[in-house]
Amino acid sequence: MCLGVPMQVKTIANEMAVCEIDGVRRDASLMMIDDVEVGDYVLIHAGFAIEKIDEEEARLTLQALRDALDMGLVPE
């Protein structure tokens, strides 16, 4: 039930955003988050954006795993 779908914000008006993933568009309330901009990735749950997705953290987690693969080690 706590499924969240990562979607990209396309337009914002009156605390509502139109978000998109793979060509599917959905309206989502922005009542639960601040400072959202067009182009941001957000997690959508039950018609609400519940949190922004930190792209830099997403990249860093993967990078740490890849670096470990390159060195034959796994990060602590």
Binding site: M1, C2, L3, G4, P6, M7, Q8, I21, S29, M31, M32, I33, D34, Y41, L43, H45, A46, G47, F48, I50, E51, I53, D54, E55, E57, A58, R59, L60, T61, L62, L65, R66, A68, L69, V74, E76
Partner: protein, 370 residues
């Protein structure tokens, strides 16, 4: 989503599995790790993760499916409300097939009750707006991921001055049941994979009291296969090293303090209360009810109904399955009288129930059941 596919990279998964194997190689006993989120349950089954892990790691499912932990009495109350004249029940899809004591909402719908499946609580508010002659009752089931969306719907209904929108509340909170199970000597949980999106709201710091009280490691983990494997690795390393701390694997979404705006929304509309959990019983301060200024939206108060005596179904082991004490294949009803088409217990109904996951992805007791 830019990075989504990369979190399914088979080569990185192979490396993670190797690291998990190395982490537990010198460990002299097996360890029990519990995932406490229905979405984790589904991800673990879907990607066959149990069968890939070393034998020393026993991965079990806990009380993380909101529909599954909802007591039968609540379903009976929803059914009684559905039988009232000029009443529309609005609900997330999973609830309609959950058996009550003698019938389900789906059965009631076939007999003429007006039951609508909605995608968002805001859709239920729109239903109320478009049907001023009917009462609309939204079935408020879910953890902290979902409850702020219901708070948002109530504030929207208030703003629109709707007099015909109600919520039947059975909201539950984390990590209360994790504390209840951590103290269970029969279970001996060595570590928790903590729910991803609940934690986005409540924050990583919310698990610190649990860790302090029970010295049980907690790792907040995302839902992609690499997330789950990394979460297991982080937990296994803590268990082997005898450590107990809160760690966050799912850093791209979860912050230490959580989502403060959502927390404010929650505490404006709801207050803490004791709650009944199927299988576990009453847990103090593990639920949320409407606070006084919003109590007029409470369907339980505004629309009194007479309830039939609660009947739990003979032989159904949902309660034990929700505590991680038995596996679906241990239940005599599993696959015999209890199937997704004709479910007896909630764990077989919900798309993220353990029995539904085992039915869909398991090989039924041939070694991958956990």
């Amino acid at each position: 989503m830019k990075h989504q596919d990369e979190y399914r990279d088979p080569e990185l998964a192979r490396l993670q599995l190797q690291a998990i194997g190395e982490a537990v190689a010198g460990f002299d006993r097996s360890m029990t790790l519990m995932e406490v989120c229905g979405t984790h349950t589904m991800a673990i089954y879907q990607h066959g993760i149990r069968s890939l892990l070393p034998e020393k790691i026993r991965l079990i499912s806990g009380p993380g499916c909101p529909v599954c932990v909802t007591p039968v009495g609540y379903v009976d109350q929803a059914i009684a409300l559905a039988r009232l004249p000029d009443t529309i029940i609005a609900t997330f899809g999973d609830m309609v097939r959950v058996p009550g004591s003698s019938t389900s909402l789906l059965d009631e719908q076939a007999r003429g009750a007006n039951v609508k499946i909605v995608y968002s609580p805001l859709d239920a508010v729109t239903l109320a707006e478009n049907n001023p002659a009917s009462n609309v009752v939204f079935l408020g089931v879910g953890f902290e991921t979902t409850t702020p969306t219901i708070a948002g719907a109530i504030l929207t209904a208030e703003k629109k001055k709707l007099q015909n929108f109600y919520v039947l509340c059975s909201h539950k909170t984390m990590p209360a049941p994790m504390a209840a199970l951590a103290g269970d000597p029969e279970l001996k949980v060595d570590g928790y994979l903590c729910p991803a999106h609940v934690s986005a709201i409540i924050g990583a710091n919310a698990y610190q009291p649990l860790v302090d009280a029970f010295r049980v490691p907690c790792v907040i983990t995302g839902f992609e296969p690499l997330d789950v494997l990394q979460g297991v690795l982080m937990l296994a390393r803590q268990v082997v090293a005898g450590k107990a701390k809160v760690e966050t694997q799912y850093r791209r979404v979860v912050k230490p303090e959580g989502n403060r705006k959502a927390q404010k929304l929650l505490s404006r509309v709801f207050e803490s209360c004791d709650a009944q959990w199927r299988g576990i019983g009453n847990i103090p301060d593990s639920g949320l009810r409407l606070c006084e200024p919003y109590s007029r939206f409470d369907a339980g108060r505004a629309l009194p109904v007479e309830l039939e005596p609660t009947v739990e179904h003979d032989g159904c082991l949902c309660g034990e399955i929700l505590k991680g004490k038995v596996q679906p294949v241990d239940c005599p009803l599993f696959r015999n009288t209890c199937t997704p088409e004709d479910p007896v217990g909630a764990c077989m109904v919900s798309s993220e129930g353990t029995c539904a996951a085992e039915y869909k992805y398991g090989d039924w007791g041939m070694g991958a059941g956990g």
